[in-house]
């Protein structure tokens, strides 16, 4: 089989790329192969379904039929096992081969697995199948959530709302420790504890043992505790294994330039793309919905003749119960300074400076300055000495400082 545009990955990046290609080229043949046996769905909605705020049907954002109606072939459950960029061929798990004119790698990332003894007893909260498992688990009395990222907070909140007694345990010094200041981490801990969710930092899970009465967590410090469910959230690993020997450069993810090109006629987008972030001055992976969607759009444009850089400032937000948490821009990049700005009511805004520019921000609490901060970043405003002084002073209106 041969198609003009082959897209590996049935998530929002792949689907958006396919639709963008279709808008720009009514006649091109387009095929999406997605490893999961589901229509295109929203991972972001999974916590809302888990705690009953949204119905399961709502997670589907593009059905196969809707894509087919646009002339986009969507093969759910089709797994790419090898790519050869020289012969422009992709081999699938069923033994078939598909050649392409242009290839988009949008294969996303999978949950990093717990590697200790008893790993088979751990649950995850990454995919629709994970959600099914969670929702069909008999009533959960006590749950351990191991890990300190966004996904761990989502899982803890969902389980607590389902009535479980939740204990959060992490190796790090609080939630989102690599990016957040101490005050923000404390605010999240308090939000958890005020809803009966305990938070323990600097503790490592060593093993999980199945007992007659349920599971038992064994910690490296010698402690043990019984649970009905052990949820693990240790970040994600980009799906690049099938690209070994492909001729495509791989670091953590697929290495692409600012136009999302990996090699001649090969592009990558979304959670798997390690793209050149010009603001951060480094290659990085931005694993969030907004990034995946808009990188899919840029890739789709560039696969149909455009030459557009991806330069959007993307953000991601969740709520830890009622407490909003927002990350904007390259929060993982090396920066020169982090300016901590207390919010008017409660919470903290952090501004990440590289040279004289703001390249990222975190906000724990109401983010009333979102538009101003976003403008600073997208415009690449060079901060004057007085502007820089004003950043940390909550009496200075950021909105008035935007040029």
């Amino acid at each position: 089989m041969r198609v003009d545009h082959l897209i590996i990955g049935g998530g929002i990046a792949g689907a958006t790329a396919a639709e963008t290609i279709r808008q720009r080229d009514p006649r091109a043949t387009i095929r999406i192969i997605g490893a999961e046996r589901h229509p295109v769905y929203s991972r972001v909605l999974l916590p809302h379904v888990a705690d009953g705020r949204a119905k399961l049907e709502r997670v589907v954002i593009r059905t196969a039929a809707a894509l087919e109606a646009k002339g986009i072939a969507y093969d759910a459950g089709a797994v790419a096992t090898a790519v050869d960029a020289r012969t422009r061929a992709v081999t699938l798990a069923d033994g078939t081969t598909c050649t392409y004119g242009k290839l988009l790698i949008a294969s996303g990332s999978d949950a990093r697995r717990f590697a200790g003894p008893g790993a088979e007893h751990c649950s995850y909260f990454r995919t629709l199948d994970d959600l099914h498992s969670l929702m069909t688990t008999a009533r959960v009395g006590a749950a351990l959530v191991y890990g300190g990222g966004f996904n761990a907070i989502d899982l803890a909140v969902s389980l607590a709302r389902r009535g479980a007694r939740v204990a959060c345990v992490m190796r790090s010094d609080g939630f989102l420790a690599r990016s957040l200041d101490a005050g923000s981490r404390e605010a999240i801990r308090q939000a958890c504890e005020s809803h009966g969710v305990t938070v323990t930092s600097h503790r490592e899970l060593r093993a999980v043992e199945r007992k007659i009465s349920g599971l038992e967590a064994h910690y490296s410090d010698g402690g043990r505790a019984p649970f009905d469910l052990v949820g693990v959230s240790l970040g994600v690993v980009p799906n690049v294994g099938f690209l070994a020997g492909s001729g495509i450069a791989i670091a953590s993810g697929v290495v692409v330039d600012e136009k999302l090109r990996a090699a001649e006629d090969v592009y990558a987008a979304g959670d798997v793309a390690e793209y050149l972030d010009a603001r951060a001055g480094a290659h990085r992976i931005a694993g969030n919905w907004m990034n995946a969607m808009f990188q899919g759009k840029t890739a789709g444009m560039n696969m149909t003749g455009a030459d557009a850089p991806f330069d959007l400032v993307t953000s991601y937000s969740i709520a830890c119960f009622e407490l909003p948490i927002t990350f904007m821009g390259a929060v993982d990049a090396a920066v020169d300074e982090r300016v901590v700005r207390p919010l008017a009511d409660a919470g903290t805004l952090q501004l990440f400076l590289k040279g004289e520019r703001i390249i990222a921000a975190t906000c724990v609490g109401p983010f009333s300055d979102r538009a101003a901060v976003s403008k600073f970043m997208s415009s690449g405003t060079v901060l004057s000495a007085s502007m820089r002084k004003g950043l940390s002073d909550p009496r200075t209106e950021l909105a008035n400082m935007v040029p």
């Binding site: 929203s42 972001v44 705020r53 919905w289 907004m290 991601y316 909003p324």
Partner: protein, 80 residues
């Protein structure tokens, strides 16, 4: 292919319980949506962008929190 009937959006409803403040709608249709102090999307102006752009903004929402209705009160999005 989709039919080419002109798109008319007469009502926009944002479900605040579903909105997580991802702000994709604000990025796509800044004339129509903005984020409020609680980091939730709110409507600024139903005519703030082209109807196609507003639809794209709604389609981009990761929690499908934006509901669009036509002049007869029929739901345009999420697709039923």
């Amino acid at each position: 292919m989709a039919d080419k009937k002109p798109l008319i959006i007469s009502k926009i409803v944002i479900d605040r319980d579903l909105c997580i403040g991802a702000a994709t709608c604000v990025t796509i249709a800044p004339g129509t949506f903005r984020m409020d102090e609680e980091n939730k999307a709110v409507l600024v102006d139903i005519r703030g962008d082209e109807a196609e752009t507003i639809l794209l903004g709604a389609e981009s929402c990761p929690t499908k929190a934006i509901f669009l209705y036509d002049e007869n009160g029929e739901q345009i999005y999420p697709y039923t």
